[in-house]
């Protein structure tokens, strides 16, 4: 690995600056799909712009992005298609405005999901993070807005967080391009399979629900032995999610 020390990136010795090319809207022939998910107003579109060089609308207003946007970048000769999703509070509701994000994370089968969270409001953001981790095990947490967290005297133990969640955590300030190189490097390692995550699974589920979920997961896994998110499907079936039921019928999970 050629390591040029760049001023913007002194801390991350692995990042290969020359290997990065922002591709803008060109997303043909990509090798990997990367999704950007997270609560509203956490800086997803800002991260997206930093990675692709595009000018997606950003704004200090929850719900700024309403349809998904695509862009691309190339890193170490691999091409990535990046998908900016509207912010959501949860993947479990059925409201239409959250549909785009929900469907893409579940059915778009991204190779890596970048979960952008607000470091100042970690607890509330974890609601969505934990749900996404039930669905996919190829995820990275982008702990955005670190500059504000610092100003507000919020300190986060990144290593413990990463251990608890079972996925890599990258602190960042997307607006000032801080943490972006590390994020790219981490994305590439997860995409290529160099880094393997072991994500957190929701624990404190009441007994009666856990029992029902177990019964269902067993049945689902019997039918689809290679499925990794049978528990999530069980959750959704118990909720009566029409989309999931249809997808199951059509075998879209295999």
């Amino acid at each position: 690995m050629e390591t040029k020390i760049q001023s913007a990136c002194e801390t991350c010795e692995h990042f290969n600056r020359d290997g990065l090319k922002k591709l803008g809207v060109r997303t043909d022939n990509f090798d990997f799909v990367v999704a950007l998910a997270g609560n509203p107003n956490t800086g997803k579109s800002t991260v997206f712009n930093a990675l692709t060089g595009l000018r997606q609308h950003t704004g200090n207003w929850p719900g700024k992005t309403v349809t998904r946007a695509e862009g691309g970048f190339e890193y170490n000769t691999k091409k990535y298609k990046l998908v900016d999703l509207p912010g959501t509070y949860s993947l479990m509701s059925t409201s239409e405005d959250e549909e785009a994000a929900r469907d893409f994370i579940l059915f778009g089968k991204p190779d890596v999901t970048v979960i952008v969270v607000d470091a100042n409001r970690l607890e509330r953001n974890l609601n969505l993070v934990l749900q996404i981790l039930e669905i996919t095990d190829k995820a990275v947490l982008c702990l955005n807005l670190m500059d504000e967290a610092k100003r507000n005297d919020v300190e986060i133990d990144v290593r413990t967080l990463s251990r608890d969640l079972g996925i890599p955590v990258v602190p960042a300030s997307a607006r000032f391009n801080r943490g972006i190189p590390e994020l790219i490097q981490t994305i590439s390692e997860i995409a290529s399979g160099k880094m393997v995550c072991k994500p957190h699974r929701i624990k404190s589920v009441p007994e009666n629900i856990e029992k029902a979920v177990k019964t269902l997961t067993v049945e689902i896994e019997k039918e689809f032995p290679n499925i990794s998110n049978s528990r999530w499907i069980a959750f959704r079936l118990l909720e009566g999610d029409k989309k999931i039921i249809e997808a199951l019928r059509k075998g879209e999970f295999v």
Binding site: Y89, M92, S93, T94
Partner: protein
């Protein structure tokens, strides 16, 4: 332009306006009345008769022609015609004066009941109609849906087993779940339970229950029970009902003793500088709006306080899990809290 003068122009204008008003004003407009009359055809009458008979037979009451005519708001002749058709089609038969459902008639009636209750459920979960309107809307919808539409509806709702009053919804094959529980007056003082059913007939009593903050699925605790009244606690409020009203509530006693918080109030009663812990969300809030509140972090155990008071009184902004979220008062009134 010879005949023009402003007064006659205005007169023409206002008469057209008045005409349109009388034609199309909500529910009483001539257009609607006419349309109703045209659509309340044979099918509707037959289905209404079947449903009445079904309900009467279920409560072990007997019906003759006279009561039937009395019950339904169609003309005598239309009902008699319908009854004739129904006997010919083997949906009902007479036992001396008494009208009875045949097996086939019963099946048909169950189908109507199924549509009615499914539609009420749909109105409750997926629309913004007030609960007072559910029944009437379902009443007209039950004649309109065909078989496939009903199945689609049921799937859309996740094959529910109960309607929003707690009445069981018959399945496709006519099976029905049992309502768990006993009538409220049968509970002892100190007993706890969950409301599983609210009877919607007779209407006078039902309206009285609707006026109170009593909701299906909420926990109650009986604190007084005698011949004059029954007093119970639910979602932090005390309710006093006459036994005859209370008998319209079915309550499933709790098997396990669970801790019921006392001093429960509503988020809407929180004032500035107070903090509180969230106990839960009232059962009144259902469907999408309930889910949204939960997603926003209004979950049991969360700490909440007022962040900003609105200059117009509403909505206030609440600080919940580090973020300021504004809710209107009617929403805040559905969040149960205990002040610190």
């Amino acid at each position: 332009m010879h005949t023009y003068n402003p007064i006659s122009a205005l007169l023409v204008f206002f008469s057209i306006g008045a005409l349109l008003y009388f034609l199309f004003r909500p529910s009483k407009g001539w257009y609607w009345i006419l349309k109703n009359q045209l659509t309340s055809n044979e099918k509707t009458i037959i289905e209404d008769v079947l449903k009445q008979l079904y309900h009467f037979e279920n409560s072990n009451n007997k019906v003759d022609m006279k009561t039937l005519v009395h019950m339904l708001s169609f003309s005598n002749k239309k009902i008699v015609d319908a009854i004739n058709i129904m006997t010919v089609n083997n949906l009902i038969y007479f036992e001396s004066d008494i009208l009875k459902l045949t097996e086939k008639g019963r099946e048909y009636a169950l189908r109507i009941v199924r549509v009615h209750r499914l539609w009420e459920r749909y109105l409750a979960e997926k629309t913004g109609f007030h609960k007072i309107e559910w029944h009437d809307r379902a009443e007209s919808m039950e004649h309109r849906l065909n078989h496939d539409e009903v199945e689609e509806l049921s799937r859309h709702l996740g094959h529910p087993k109960f309607d929003p009053h707690g009445d069981p919804i018959p399945t496709k094959t006519g099976k029905m779940a049992q309502v768990k529980g006993v009538e409220l007056p049968l509970l002892q003082v100190g007993a706890m339970g969950r409301i599983t059913h609210i009877e919607d007939e007779p209407e006078v009593i039902y309206k009285q229950i609707l006026a109170e903050n009593i909701h299906i699925g909420s926990l109650i605790k009986v604190v007084e029970n005698n011949v004059t009244r029954i007093v119970f606690l639910s979602e932090g409020e005390e309710f006093k009902l006459a036994p005859i009203v209370a008998a319209n509530l079915t309550v499933a006693p709790l098997e396990k003793e669970i801790l019921v918080e006392d001093n429960v109030t509503r988020l809407s009663s929180l004032t500035e500088n107070e903090t509180a812990k969230i106990i839960g969300i009232s059962r009144e809030s259902r469907g999408e709006s309930r889910r949204r509140l939960l997603d926003l972090g209004f979950v049991k155990g969360a700490q909440v306080s007022i962040d900003l008071v609105n200059p117009l009184g509403e909505p206030n902004a609440y600080l919940i899990k580090g973020t300021s979220i504004a809710l209107r008062n009617d929403q805040a009134a559905k969040i149960l809290i205990k002040k610190d």
